[in-house]
């Protein structure tokens, strides 16, 4: 049987976490992608080009640009008969949708899949990633969310999937989308960036946080933050890296003024290289850092930014 992935898109193509979900499940069967919401049709050609995809199902309805999760869940449940596995990236949208789908199918979802052993057996982190559980499900149908940081994304090209238009979910009497406050950024997306620069409580203010922005821009990096920095209002909530925020695994992660609580480490310890800048040489972040620099971030970060600006 085929596999359905409810994918995230930006109106031009698939999100990188969605391509990671394709790569994670490609070994289990032919992959169908479901695209919903505004500009789903516009994103379909790029989605169809993703390696390993057999079909792209487009459910777009001009009247509901942001379809209600309650309606989308009902639609996915209606399609479930054709699929052995129903999955989504473990993005905010995927995490919101999939458990509702699972409950309506009487299935115990497997969240944040970080490894695929076979069609029934998956590896997932528990306790903020401090343990890895291998679980086998007895449910006939599998409902999964996929942790993007654990899988390389499927190549954006090489596929030639068919594109089908299907009926959209329509509105829901239960909920109405009122609006969003987007943090529009020229920087790369945090969960798929090659380099991430994150700041912690030690930055001391949102003005000082611009030191992180400047370093990130020099490197073409995304900006992250510890929970403490977000709670203090130095950085917006969607910058939070950690157990309950974003899980990232870039090639280079630079942690500035972050002590390294286990909840933060849970979100970044799979990065390829970790740099830590902190004035406390006993800070736990140094236990996971490949390169540690002890000292005052207010002197070191501008110096680093200047040094990196030179070729």
């Amino acid at each position: 049987m085929s596999i359905l992935i409810v994918a995230d898109h930006d109106g031009t193509g698939l999100s990188q976490p969605s391509r990671s979900a394709v790569a994670a499940l490609a070994g289990l069967g032919p992959i169908h992608l479901l695209l919903t919401g505004a500009n789903a049709a516009a994103a379909a050609p790029a989605a169809a080009a993703v390696s390993g995809v057999e079909a792209v199902l487009v459910a777009e309805d001009a009247a509901t640009a942001v379809p209600a999760v309650e309606a989308v869940a009902a639609m996915v449940v209606g399609m479930a008969g054709n699929y052995s596995h129903i999955a989504a990236p473990a993005s905010a949208a995927g995490k919101n949708l999939m458990p509702r789908v699972a409950a309506l199918l009487d299935v115990q979802q497997i969240s944040e899949v970080a490894g695929v052993i076979d069609a029934d057996t998956f590896v997932r982190p528990i306790y903020a990633g401090n343990a890895l559980a291998t679980v086998k499900t007895s449910d006939a149908k599998k409902v999964l969310t996929i942790r993007a940081a654990s899988f390389d994304a499927a190549p954006a090209t090489g596929g030639a999937a068919r594109i089908e238009t299907i009926a959209a979910s329509g509105a829901s009497p239960l909920s109405t989308f009122l609006g969003s406050e987007g943090v529009k950024s020229e920087r790369p997306d945090l969960t798929s960036a090659r380099i991430v620069v994150s700041g912690g409580r030690a930055l001391g203010s949102s003005e000082n946080f611009h030191l992180i922005d400047a370093l990130a821009d020099t490197l073409g990096a995304a900006v992250g933050a510890s929970r403490a920095a977000v709670d203090s209002g130095y950085a917006p909530n969607d910058h939070q890296v950690g157990q309950t925020g974003k899980i990232v695994a870039p090639e280079l992660y630079i942690a500035v003024g972050i002590s390294g609580a286990i909840q933060h480490l849970a979100g970044m310890k799979d990065s390829k290289f970790i740099v830590a800048i902190n004035k406390d040489e006993e800070a736990p972040i140094f236990q996971v850092a490949d390169y540690g620099l002890v000292g005052d971030l207010f002197a070191l970060v501008p110096e680093l930014t200047a040094a990196l600006a030179k070729p």
Partner: protein
Amino acid sequence: MKVLVTAKRVVDYNVKIRVKADHTGVETANVKMSVNPFDEIAIEEAVRLKEKGAATEIIVVSAGPAAASEQIRTALAMGADRGILVQHDGVLEPLVVAKLLAAIIAKEAPGLVILGKQAIDDDMNATGQMLAGLLGWAQGTFASKIEMKGETAVVTREVDGGLETVEVKLPAIITTDLRLNEPRYASLPNIMKARKKTIDTMTPADLGVDPTPRLTVLKVEEPPTRKAGVKVGSVQELVEKLRGEAKVI
């Protein structure tokens, strides 16, 4: 309006967990247990709704071993009015917990249910959404702000690109994110008062729910540990390492 909240018993977030030597799970004997921090935020929000006059009664539910009554007492000391313990000693998966809650909700008929978005032990992030699905109710997940508006609630949600606002029809399920509020500490007089509040105990069978897990844990392992690297003496040395050794920039 009745508000129903949850209080899962979990290993305290400050405890460094240890994987059992036989790889069957995580050591939970003789470890400090607490209310799941996201549930604490849910309880706090319910208490604030009551203080504002938007809620009349707060019912707190915990499903777990007999000792989970400790977590219910914590919620009662924070300001919940009465507790329900669904006692079960084995693993309770989110789907089972959602079914237990759905059965309790059928009897109690709350106008709003607030749960933590995830428990910090299994990190599933599923029970609230599952409960909403089972009940056919609206869901406002990952809430950082809740505004009650009579027949509806306006929920500000933390999403990948920033914040999103949805209006949900009541009764509804709301799950809490970190920035919804800062939970209070219970005062000593309130802890004393909580001892007199009622906790009803029932079992999954009483609620007509089969607690059998769907997932079999084959093994639990420690993740590969990172080795601490080197301390560099200067920015210049760091840049040299990143360019020459790591070759990441």
